[in-house]
Amino acid sequence: MLPTPSTSHVAFERVYEPAEDSYLLLDTLSSEAEKAFLQRRFSSTLTGVLSPLVVEIGTGSGVVLSFVDAHAETIFGREDVLTAGIDVNRFACEATVQTVKVAEQEQVVQGKTSGIYLGNVVGDLAGPLRSSTVDVLIFNPPYVPTPDLPELPALSNTAANSSFEDDSHLLALSYAGGADGMETTNRLLDSLPGILNSDRGCAYILLCAQNKPEDVKQRIRSWGRKWGVETVRSSGMKAGWEKLQIIRIFRT
């Protein structure tokens, strides 16, 4: 098993603390099946397959992105993997920068390689990304069904000494998903055809049972024959229902 990056420096009052969903993503991305999928798709021996770009949306503490960056060579079979993160919460972006730094230093200490981390930007989902640039997108959404969706933080809300209400609001943004817990995920799904590489692009997205994963997959199948979707990992069986699952959406 690959080591989980340290996030002990992160202030969890206002940044989502790594939990079962984060670890399910780590297990998925380092599983033999997904390593094989990614290495087939992004092998450096295939002609024309240049350095892949991995973008995580909603990096939170940075545990997932730093894991992919630090273990790029094991996961992708190549170390020239570019990584970048986006989060709506500036504190999460700062935390991710630090988490990646610690994870990369740990790799150096062990004489191992890591990917090339470009940085994090504050933004709303894929909004800042240029079209067709992303090879692998990772999204652990705010998936909990809630009566309302919290508003995006105001542009000016970057003061270091934020109040308790501000902190709770930032945390709410990390889990509250509105109707069926899908309001934010639906917006991300709509943007996928535009931002994923048109030959090799793929996306790992976490869903919970209340998100109606079979409906989500049906919707992606309706995009046509150029798209595939599979459940690649699940956890937390409860009365026959998987509580959480990771779907992989990919260009065929």
Binding site: S51, E79, D80, V88, V121, V122, L129, R130, T133
Partner: protein, 127 residues
């Protein structure tokens, strides 16, 4: 954020996406910092061909770097030209933007960069 990041970012305003003026964003009053990274030819060879070279040239010249060749060097050209290899390694992998802003040439919106993190959240009237 590494300077290289600018090759993957555009204006977040929806109506700007379809215009060529929204890419690349233009750095304004930027402070740069650099770190030292072991140079690995393989990295540059695999990264260069995936970049938008003309956007990279624009970014480099706007930040005051010496002019880049008119088109991306081939692997052979890079192997034969140690100075160019070194310059590109520094530019793409070692140079970070720490402070300043990124301006969209289409709508004029300016995205602030603080402590290496750019803010792409939009004010209400641009969402």
């Amino acid at each position: 954020m590494k300077l290289l990041t600018l090759n993957f970012l555009t204006c977040a305003v929806k109506s700007c996406k379809s215009t060529s003026a929204s890419f690349p964003l233009h750095p304004k009053d930027c402070e740069l910092v650099s770190d030292t990274l072991k140079s690995d030819p393989k990295l540059l060879f695999n990264i260069l061909p995936r970049l938008d070279w003309s956007a990279l040239s624009t970014t480099a010249s706007e930040l005051g770097f010496p002019g880049l060749p008119p088109s991306a060097p081939t692997k052979e050209e890079l192997e034969a030209n140690e100075k160019l290899f070194h310059d590109l390694h520094t530019l793409l992998l070692e140079t970070h933007i720490s402070e300043g802003s990124l301006v969209c040439a289409n709508c004029g919106h300016s995205y602030k960069i603080k402590e290496g993190i750019a803010n792409f959240l939009l004010p209400n009237h641009l969402v």
